[in-house]
Amino acid sequence: MKVTFPHMGHVYILLKDILGRLDVECVIPPPNSLKTIKLGVQHAPELACYPLKVTLGNFIEGLEKGADTLIMAGGVGPCRFGYYAETQRRILERLGYEFKMVIVEPPTAHPFLFYRAFKRIAPKKKLRELWKALKVSFYKAQTMDLMERESLKVRPFEKRKGETTRVLNKWRKRLDDAFSYEEISFIKEEALGEISSLKEVEREVLKVGFVGEFYLVLEPFINFNLEEVLGRRGIYLERSVYLTDWIGPTSDNPVGGWSNEKVATAAGPYLSHFVGGEGRATVGHIVIYVYEGFDGILHLMPFTCMPELVARSIFPRLQRELDVPILSLIFDEQTGKAGLLTRIEAFIDLLWVRRKRGLLPRKDKITWFPGGSYQPQLFGFKRR
């Protein structure tokens, strides 16, 4: 049995590690490329969202490399992501591939289905062994997340351009090869130390919040490596989503720093109910970044993404009330790098002008954290 899985940022480090610990042979599909996108777009339904198309391309490339089992995360809605696996299975079967699709459902919602998926991947292993493997692998992924967070902080202040990325890649490689818990924690100490020591130059930087749909924020090939491009131009970025925060068992988001409850409270006056995916988190993080005195927000979403469209529909109100500049970029297979960079450059220029004139987002307009969760029923009326 050879297992393959789709790419999403450094998720391959995590999955490779877990599968290795469970003695399952895995085939890592080739990194995302134009060919992947082309393959996915060719076979996926036209109006499906972009991540479905790219991950379908990953699966096709993985199957062509000799895999016979596909792993995909499941879900219980309302975001379309929960039904990706099923749709992709049908498309791939129609194309004539022979494979087994294992859908890993979230253990909190479907404990039995999760167990069955685990047994299909590693029939001889016990749950305790999975738990042991998960603990170390999760720690590894979290270390990777912490390194990325640190690199976002220092990149605008690096002395030689590209130094941060080089160091980050070096440690990512070493982390990928690390096995034991001790080894990983040693790498964590060393890597975080080395990355933070790169902060050498003092300069004035713009602070921009990086929010949006999960896949697009995490996958550098698909978002044209925006983190690095912006960092090199002297933009201090803060990211709203991290891999381990999303898949982690707790809701306090140790890497991102804002717990789900706090984000929900912040989003409350604007979007008072969760809408699946990252919809509410996007709105909540924008409010948080305004509160923290950021200059602007960069928002990424795939074409036709439902939760992000709900969030995007609320942006006009956020911009009106909080006076925060938001650049919302929609990605699909037609998106070109040059046009995108032009828009981002214009946005950066606008932010500089705003800063020179002393125009900052109106954080005094935020009416949140009054304690308790905000549950509006009657909008526009005075609450009794």
């Binding site: 339904p45 309302p78 008072s272 609320i314």
Partner: protein, 304 residues
């Protein structure tokens, strides 16, 4: 007091309840007119450009009503059954409408996943806001509930044999909106076809048909559509299915694959998918329907 109910989206499903409840509470209900060019244009202007067509239409209706009434009733319909949501856009609908202008919105939370009691409670809170006491509110709720049940029961009908039978698998808000669907139902009827809608299949038959799916669908209204299509195909009740999809409808884009797979490939039933959007022209639309009907009658006469 005047309440406004936009004639779009879930209006086509729950209108008797919403109207009945508000009227029993002593509120005058104003409904927007059926979708017309001006409403659609307004909606397309105001709404997010990438959002699906029915939501754009909803924006148009809401803007039309906003100035004419004291408040808009836009319930936040989260779950209408256990283990299934409606759609992210319906979950965020009141917040989205609130984003456009300073409309006043009354938005009860409909979450049947939390049990029937919370459902009654959320309608009672609307009654509280209207200044109606709990006793009267409960009676209003009961009457409205009854009206809704009768409305739903009336829709169910079994299929008659004979004639060319076509199943329309699509959201009621896009099919029953005559402007959006170019009067699809009547057009098919005038061409001599018998038309069946997805909501006419009873929930029980639908659930039985859906049992064969390896992963259950978690959108209620998509379950309705796919379940109906699978039921028709399994029992060979129709000669062909038209899958009506609106542009940028999220769940339907995936359901298209499921329907094609489960209905077309498994049972060999012809399926045509029509995508509605604000730019579609009536003529092209008609040509496709006619071609599909011709193909079906040719197949019925024994052509292969």
């Amino acid at each position: 007091m005047k309440a406004g109910i936009p004639r779009a989206l879930l209006y086509y499903k729950y209108a008797p309840f919403w109207e009945g409840f508000l009227e029993s509470c002593g509120v005058r209900v104003v409904k927007s007119p059926p979708t017309n060019k001006a409403i659609l244009k307004k909606g397309v202007e105001e709404a997010e450009s990438e959002i699906c067509l029915p939501v754009k239409v909803f924006y148009g209706h809401a803007i039309y009503l906003a100035k004419k009434v004291d408040f808009l009733l836009i319930p936040r319909v989260v779950r209408v059954e256990k283990r299934a949501y409606t759609c992210p856009k319906l979950l965020g609908l009141p917040d989205m409408i609130r984003g456009i202008s300073d409309v006043k919105i009354v938005s009860p939370l409909i979450n049947l996943g939390q049990g029937f009691r919370s459902y009654v409670e959320s309608w009672c809170s609307v009654a509280d806001f209207l200044g109606v006491n709990r006793n009267r509110a409960w009676h209003a709720f009961k009457d409205a509930w009854l009206k809704q049940k009768i409305f739903e029961r009336k829709k169910r009908r079994s299929l008659k044999k004979g004639g060319l039978r076509i199943g329309l698998a699509g959201h009621s808000y896009s099919i029953l909106d005559r402007y959006l669907s170019f009067n699809l139902v009547e057009r098919l009827k005038s061409q001599g076809a018998e038309v069946f809608l997805a909501e006419e299949v009873s929930p029980r038959e639908r659930e039985i048909a859906l049992k064969s799916l390896p992963k259950s669908i978690f959108w209620s209204y998509e379950k309705e559509i796919v379940g109906a299509a699978m039921h028709w195909a399994r029992k060979r009740l129709v000669h062909g299915i038209i899958f009506v999809n609106s542009f940028a409808c999220g769940p339907d884009s995936l359901m298209q694959v499921v329907v094609e797979n489960e209905v077309s490939e498994k049972y060999g039933l012809p399926v045509m998918s029509l995508v509605l959007d604000e730019h579609s022209s009536e003529v092209g639309f008609l040509t496709r329907i006619e071609a599909f009907l011709d193909m079906l009658s040719w197949k019925r006469r024994g052509g292969e």
